[in-house]
Assembly symmetry: C2
Homo-oligomer: 183 residues x 2
């Protein structure tokens, strides 16, 4: 890769990251190119379409979530560790409006890589939590991530209500039925 190409690539990635945070992932790609000081053609050469750019941005962020998962393996309560990690995922997705929708869909293409890395990162936490008996054995990582992403999305659509995610998450974690069923 030529030096100028590398420079532009990095610059685009960083500008995209910021633009996604500020304006959401629907931001005009031309604006990103402009801010990065390159032409729109250059952007499209490096990132063939919007999702390619998104996934390139997000994949970088996943390191911190992987790290977080490993740290949380030391947490005493396995269920709480799992929940804490899923919430961290939510916070991350929430930072980029539109990311959770992509994660949720991610049927093919590069975005799938993000999803897969998340699965791997959280897998150990889920296994441990199940073994502890605190988590329903029929809960899969895929569904937990879908559920989390779905709630993030719901929260995104209600920006005026800051607590939306927490309330919905609380409902899902504890169930809507009163827990009293025997307690």
């Amino acid at each position: 890769m030529r030096a100028d190409a590398q420079r532009n690539y990095d610059r685009l990635l960083e500008e995209a990251r910021q633009a996604f945070i500020v304006h959401g992932t629907d931001v005009a790609l031309e604006d990103i190119a402009k801010h990065a000081g390159v032409g729109i053609g250059t952007l499209y050469r490096h990132f063939p379409d919007r999702t390619a750019l998104m996934s390139a941005v997000f994949v970088r962020e996943l390191d911190s979530l992987t790290d977080r998962a490993q740290l949380l393996m030391a947490e005493e309560d396995p269920a709480q560790a799992l929940f804490a990690w899923l919430k961290a995922v939510a916070v991350h997705s929430g930072a980029y409006r539109g990311m959770s929708a992509q994660i949720m869909a991610a049927g093919d293409g590069e975005m799938l890589q993000c999803k897969t890395r998340l699965h791997q990162a959280g897998g150990a936490l889920l296994t441990r939590a199940k073994e502890s008996g605190a988590i329903r054995p029929d809960a899969g990582m895929g569904d937990l991530l879908k559920l989390t992403s779905a709630l993030v999305l719901a929260a995104e659509k209600n920006p005026e209500d800051r607590d939306t995610f927490d309330r919905l998450w609380n409902l899902a974690i504890n169930g809507i039925l009163t827990p009293a069923r025997g307690a």
Copy 2:
């Protein structure tokens, strides 16, 4: 309203309904106009923007959900009645890809009317279910609808997996934690 205007209005509404079901609510409005046999200008005069058209379509569908809610008031188990109704809402939203996103957002504009009608329709069911003690008292109708819509949305994004909604719904209803916390 002039007779021809009324005809076009009705025709547009019906074509929109079908197009939404077949192609999702992202379908090109020009196509709807074309199928209805009118110009794009006519469509936009009757429905100033896409959400106006969507809400006009959806509002009609709500009657059946209102009816359903009243029928379910006769159901023995209040919690099951509530869940059955929410699931009916989900089925309805699921029929129109993109509807649930609108319902969820519905901060202003005509779409709010749909949301409000849903609240009213389900309110009695929720109250009854809470009084029976089977439903967490801190669960509000707004959050339940948001949760339901969010799961519908998640399911929409995974069209290859038909059971997505049911699995997620099951997790949310029963909670992710094992119900055994004392049972």
